[in-house]
Each structure stands twice: as structure tokens, then as C-alpha cells.
């Protein structure tokens, strides 16, 4: 029997995409990078729904192309170290002494240009992988799967995110209306004020209306939890998060004292998790039609994780395959392991069922 169209847990898609992005971060081999981009596009085309955000892949592809172009342009403009064949010998423009170390134009070496291309592709591949996740899973739905203790913060983020399109809309409307005023000579002085006052007033009105609506619909019912307990759990969560931040900073800073590394990180993590857990005990909120984290979700996530794991392994086994030489320029070659790693993301297509399209939904309704 064919599997029914169904949506896969959004977290699974994000794990998959992050896996591919990690794989892309491990290599500068252009063929592997193009393979990774190809894999993510292929999966998106087969598995995306027809919601507005599903159409966003094009934007990320364009962004990727722009990154590559800018990287290469800078290599041409600023010259840079390199060797090998000189492609074009442009005259170098001397700069005054305060800009020592920077020189404009100059000879363009093939290796320098190739480095720019590989670098750009490296970044573009990561952007496209994350863009793929965005088109496959609504970022707002992702927020719905946060643990119960973070539910309030999740709602705040959702509301904040939806403010931006509204602000853009009211800004456009106000600008259009202001052009109708004929007293243009005096209004040029007030240009900022003329747009900001009505837009902010509008935003304030809207947020008050939203707050009243949410209050009337039961948002923030704390049931039996006392205000003292709420204060305690809130403090625990915040102190925990600060601890995690300090610890994470210490982990990457090699000169940080030992005590500011793992101990702070772990203590912060424990405190934060405890705060979230304790505050979710008293909460009584249910979820409407949650996506289950089932076998297909595990399969999807595994595809991305496998891709990342194999590529990380390949950095040990076959480092030369992942970073092809540009001086002298050689045709990038690689063995079976990186190839398998790059293609492992395709498992997601096998693991996941077809997406639900609203057209098919209407046909069955």
C-alpha cells in the first residue's frame, strides 16, 4: 500500500538540514558542495507543501549565487595572495599609507579566483541547506514543538515574528496616504515624524487589541501555580540560560580559566533545564494535531545526521578529498566515502511520505 500524504515533524526536517549544513561546513570541494546543494533542492522539490513559505527556496538559491559572486568580485577587487597562472594582469592602484596592506586590483591569479569560488560555494551550500529546512517546515510550527516550559516564550516569538509583515504593511499604507497631503513644503521637515507617528500608533493599537484577544482566550492561565513558584522557576530558567552563554563562551575561548568552561556550562544547562521542567509541571496546555516524531521523522533526521557523521569521518580518513588544491590547480577528485556522505541526505526522500497539498485536501473534503 502507498503511504498516505502526511507532514513530517518539523524538528526532523531541521535536523536533516543542519546535518547537511554540517557536511557542507566540512569541505571546500566544489563538486561535493554542488552535490549537497543538489540533494537539498531535490528533496525540497519532492517534499515541500504548497504553503507560502514553501516557495522560499528560490530566494535562498539567489542568496547563494550572490554570495559566490561577491566573494569572487572581492578577490578581483582586492587582489590577494596567490600563485599559478596570471589570468589578467590589471594595474595595481596604490593606496595611501593608512590603508597599508590593502591593495586594489593588481594581477589576478587563477588560484586566488578558485579560492574565492570554493569559499563562496562553501558558504552558499550552508545557506541553501538551511533554506531547504525553511521551505520544508514552517518555522512557526517548529516553535510549537518547544517544551511546555518554553511555551510562553514560544508564543512571544511567534507574535513578534508576525509583527514585521504588519509593520511593513502599515508603513506602505501610511507613506501612500501621506503623499496625498498637499502641504509638501512643510512636510519635508517632518518626514520621519510623519511616517513614524502613524505607524507606531497603528502598531500600538494592534498590539493592545492582540493582547486583549489573547487575554480573553485564556493565554497565560496559570491554574494552581502560585506567583512565588512562577517567580522562582522564571529566575531559574534565566540564570540557567546566562550560565549556558558564559560557559559556551568559555568553551571556545582558550585563555578562559578552567572553572569558567565546563563547570559553568553544565551548571547553567542543568539549572535551565530544571527551570523549564519545573515550570511545565503546573502548566495545563494541550496541543492541537501535533506532528508525531515517528519512524519517518526518525528516517528523515537520520539521513541528515548520517551525512554529517560520514563527512566528519572523512575529514580524518581522506582530508585531501575534502580540500582540493588550488595551487597548482587540480581537478577536484574524491573517494567513495565523501560521495556517500554527500548523497546520504537523499534518504529523507525514501523515509518521508508525500506532502499534504491543500489541493488534495480540498478534493477529499
Amino acid at each position: 500500500m502507498r503511504r498516505l500524504p502526511r507532514s513530517v515533524h518539523p524538528v526532523a526536517w531541521w535536523i536533516w538540514a543542519l546535518g547537511l549544513a554540517v557536511a557542507a561546513a566540512c569541505t571546500t570541494n566544489p563538486i561535493l558542495l554542488l552535490l549537497l546543494i543538489g540533494v537539498s533542492c531535490f528533496v525540497v522539490l519532492l517534499r515541500r507543501g504548497d504553503a507560502p513559505w514553501s516557495r522560499s527556496l528560490r530566494v535562498y538559491l539567489a542568496l547563494g549565487a550572490a554570495i559566490v559572486a561577491i566573494r569572487m568580485l572581492f578577490r578581483v577587487l582586492l587582489g590577494g595572495p596567490g600563485g599559478g597562472t596570471v589570468l589578467i594582469d590589471l594595474p595595481s592602484i596604490p593606496l595611501p599609507s593608512f590603508a597599508a596592506g590593502i591593495h586594489l586590483l593588481g594581477p589576478i591569479y587563477s588560484s586566488s579566483l578558485l579560492d574565492g569560488l570554493y569559499d563562496g560555494l562553501h558558504l552558499a551550500a550552508m545557506v541553501v541547506c538551511l533554506g531547504a529546512a525553511n521551505s520544508l517546515a514552517n518555522p512557526k510550527r517548529l516553535l510549537k514543538s518547544v517544551p511546555m516550559g518554553l511555551y510562553d516564550i514560544g508564543t512571544v516569538v511567534v507574535v513578534a515574528v508576525s509583527v514585521f509583515p504588519q509593520l511593513a504593511e502599515s508603513l506602505g499604507r501610511v507613506r501612500r496616504a501621506q503623499r496625498l497631503r498637499h502641504d509638501a513644503a512643510t512636510s519635508r521637515r517632518h518626514l520621519v515624524r510623519m511616517t513614524i507617528v502613524p505607524v507606531l500608533a497603528d502598531a500600538l493599537d494592534r498590539s493592545l487589541a492582540l493582547a486583549a484577544a489573547m487575554d480573553s482566550r485564556g493565554y497565560g492561565r496559570h491554574g494552581s501555580a502560585s506567583s512565588r513558584r512562577r517567580l522562582l522557576t522564571g529566575a531559574m530558567t534565566i540564570v540557567g540560560l546566562i550560565g549556558v552563554c558564559v560557559g559556551a563562551y568559555g568553551l571556545f575561548d582558550e585563555r578562559a580559566p578552567e572553572t569558567r568552561r565546563w563547570p559553568v556550562f553544565i551548571a547553567g544547562l542543568v539549572l535551565g533545564v530544571a527551570g523549564v521542567v519545573v515550570s511545565s509541571i503546573g502548566r495545563r496546555v494541550t496541543r492541537y494535531r501535533p506532528d508525531p516524531f515517528d519512524l519517518s521523522a526518525i528516517g528523515v533526521a537520520a539521513g541528515g545526521a548520517l551525512s554529517a557523521a560520514l563527512m566528519v569521518w572523512a575529514t580524518d580518513v581522506a582530508p585531501a578529498d575534502l580540500h582540493p588544491d588550488t595551487l597548482p590547480a587540480t581537478w577536484p577528485v574524491f573517494g567513495v566515502l565523501p560521495l556517500v556522505a554527500a548523497c546520504a541526505g537523499l534518504l529523507a526522500v525514501v523515509a518521508s511520505p508525500a506532502p499534504v497539498l491543500s489541493r488534495t485536501r480540498e478534493a477529499t473534503a
Binding site: R181, A209, A212, D215, G218, R287, R289
Partner: protein
Amino acid sequence: MIDLQRLGVRYADDGPATLADVDLHIEEGELALLVGGTGVGKSTLLGTINGLVPHFTGGRLSGRVTVGGYDTRTHPPREMADVVGRVGQDPLAGFVTDTVEDEIAYGMEQLAVPPATMRKRVEEVLDLLGIAELRARPLAALSGGQQQRVAIAAALASAPSVLVLDEPTSALDPGAAEDVLAAITRLVHDLGTTVVMAEHRLERAVQYADSVIVLPGGGAVRAGDPATMMIDSPVAPPVIQLGRLAGWAPLPLSVRDARRAARPLRDSLTAPTTTRRAPGDVVLQARGVTVRYGDRVAVRQVDVDLHAGSVTALMGRNGSGKSSLQWALQGSGPRAAGSVRVDGIETASQRGLVGLVPQTASDLLYLESVDAECAAAGPQARDILDALAPGIDGAQHPRDLSEGQRLALVLAVQLSAGPRVVLLDEPTRGLDYRAKAALVEQLDSLAAQGHAVLVATHDVEFVAQAADRVVVLAEGEVIADGPTAEVIASSPIFAPQVAKILAPQPFLTVDQVARAMPDSVAR
């Protein structure tokens, strides 16, 4: 079900009381309609029912409000959510999620309804309000009427025993408003929900009400049977005004009842004398105006002439191209083809030939006081404002003005440039009967001064009083253009209540009837 005992509300300690000494009891399963002008405390009264007043708005509340056994003194709105559902004026502003299904489920999620029950209830309310086919659609892509029905569905899904609606149809076109009111009456009949509703469109709503709560102003409240309460209510739809004029008892509330009572009146009336203004010469001449947004054609080769000294109404459903046409006529909106000339000058090339009051009129205002706005607009602005709406305090902040006063202010700002053509986009939105009557007078005086006026509106009663000529748009094309009486009286949708009651006699407004009435019938 709902008990208000000696309720008083005041927002400032030294200010006047918004509500004073209100004793009110609303039975279970009743549809209670709040009637009153703007600013008499309708929203405040509605807010006290689920505790938004004073928990959310601030202010001082005296007396006692109990709903379904809960006292709002000890229960803030979120704890009342399972008893009282609330629907506001602008549905889009109250939406928390982004698809229809999620929005309906949101309230139940907060109340911790078990997932299986939640699933079942979502399907039930989707069917109850006839929006099942919209379930997966993004909320922002729905029409106003659909959004308001989703908002009602979302409030109903938590199965509250009381539903509070604050002017649910004020932002909708007549068809959508009809849908929403039909949905509300079905709830009262099928579910036994107690509904308390404030509503401007009394002509549609009053016939369904079980009781009417009149707020005459000054904080007092009277309640009772609709037919008795409407006799001296401060605001009344045309059907009631006609009933009062003819002295019908009991007062008919629906067009159907009024038609039966009107038989003797119909026979005694002679055809109305035409008091129409004679149109002057053509001021604005538009030929082949086309507006397109990408592939969508909003206005398709429209020809319009506007005459000096006349008021033209522009009608049509939402999305039929009314706003696009007005912006194109003004000259600052996009126009793909065609020409618009005022006295031979192309409007796109010169500002100030045409004044436009946009749909959200307050977008034009940005200063702290009425005087500052007038000073910025020009030397005559204050005089024009005083002529349009006398007695506005110059030190007031424009946002504190009433809907109608703010409209007059924007109109004055636009008129101070001395345009011969004035366009108004949906000015009647959110106006009560008194403000609408004031607007009719303002437009009359503009026409008397020789302006050409074009008003886009959904409000047929307003058109019957204000307009000399009606242009109807559908899908961006002009489908009717002629004198008001001919265009609207013959249409089943656009006919005003008086025309429906007195057909085949060609009356449109209560004023016309009053003038034509023989004295013997009048008293």
C-alpha cells in the same frame, strides 16, 4: 446568566463616570443588542462582562458583575475564557496563529482541552460557521467576512456559554455582514448560546434581538423588549424612523412587518417632489482608466465624468476596484492606461487638483493637536473645519477625536488646498447614524460650493440620502451609472429599507416620506 449589580465604571477618578448605577440581567440563551451612539460606553459595558474592564483596561469599577456564577472581581479575563468568548471589531488584529485551523484550536489549547475533543470540536465549529473549505488557508489571505467568521468560530470552539461581540460587522461589506449576522442568529437558535452584541447596523440586527439595551449616554442604561425600547432609542434605522413617523404600533422591526403595516400609507402618498441638485458642468473627465497589479486587472477601461455641484456614490463589493479607481483618479495611485483630466489638466502631473480622503483617514495625521494639523495644512483649514464640524477643541489630540470628527479634520486638511474634486474612500465605516447624518450635511455643503464629490461606500442608506448619482463597479468594470433613484431602487441588494417598504412608490429616504406625507396620516 449575566448579572450586573449597581455597576459603575470610571476611567479617571476626577472624570465623568462612563457607566453609573447599571442594573442589568441577561437570561440564558438570549440575544441582547446594545444600542447607542459612539462613545456612550458600549465597549466598556461589553468589556465588564469578561473582566477586560477593569483588569486589562484599568479604571475603577464599583458594583458587581457575575457571569455563569463567576465574579469578575476575582476572575481575570483569562480565567473567564471558558465561560465568555469575545469577538472584537477587527478580526485580523486579534489573531494569534496564522492558519484557520490553528486559530480555532488556540483557545482550546490554552484551556487544556484533550486533543481528541479538540479535534472533534474544530470540525464541528468549521461546519457550524460554514468555513470548512477554508481550514488550511492562511488567515491574512481571507476576506473580511471570512476572517470575522473564523474569529467567531475560534471564540465558540472553547464552548463558552456567553459570546460577547463588539461591533462584529462594522468593517464588512453588506454581503459579508449578512453572513456574519446569519451565523450569529443560528448560534442563538441551535446552541442556546447567550449573545451580547453591540452593533451599528441596527437595520439588520434589531429584528433578531430578544432584548435591546439602550445606552442614551451619561452612564445610564435601559433594557427591555425591542419593539418598546426602539420607540425612543437615540439611534434608529430607517425602518424604525418610518414607523415612528407614521405612528405604527407596535413598532415594526423588520422590513417584512413594516411592509404589512405600510399599506394605508402607501396608498395615501403622492410621488416625491424631486429636490435634486441640477448637475453643473463636467469637472473631472476620466477616459479608459485601467489599473493592474501584475496579472490582475483591478480597474478595466473605466470612463467616468464628475459634475460640479453633485455627489456621486461609487458602489460595489469588496475587491471590485473602488479604491484602485479612486487612487487612479487622484493621480498618485498606479494607472496602466487612460487619462484623468480636471479642467483639462492631467491629475497625475499636478497635486492638489483632487483631494482624496483614504480609507484609514488617520494615516494622514501626525501632529499632536488639531490646531497644529490645521496650521500645517494651510491658513483656511481651521475655517473649513469649523464650517464642517463646529466646536472641535483645537488643543485636542487628533486620536482622541471621535471617528466622525477625525474624518472632518482630514477632509478639512485636504480641502485647504482648494481642490475642485473631492474623493472619499469608505468614509462611513465605523460611523453611527448621527455621524452619518453630519457627513451627509457636509457633503451637501461641499456640493453647494461647487465641488464634485465621489464617495466610495457600501452603505445604501447613506447613498440614498447623500448621492445624486450612483456608479456601480463589478470586477473593475462599470455596470451601472445613473441617478440614485433609478440605480438603487431597482436593485434587490442596493434598495434602501424605505424603498423596500414603500415599493412601488419611488421613495428612498424617511425625509422624502415626511415631506410628501398628508397631515392626516402623520398624526
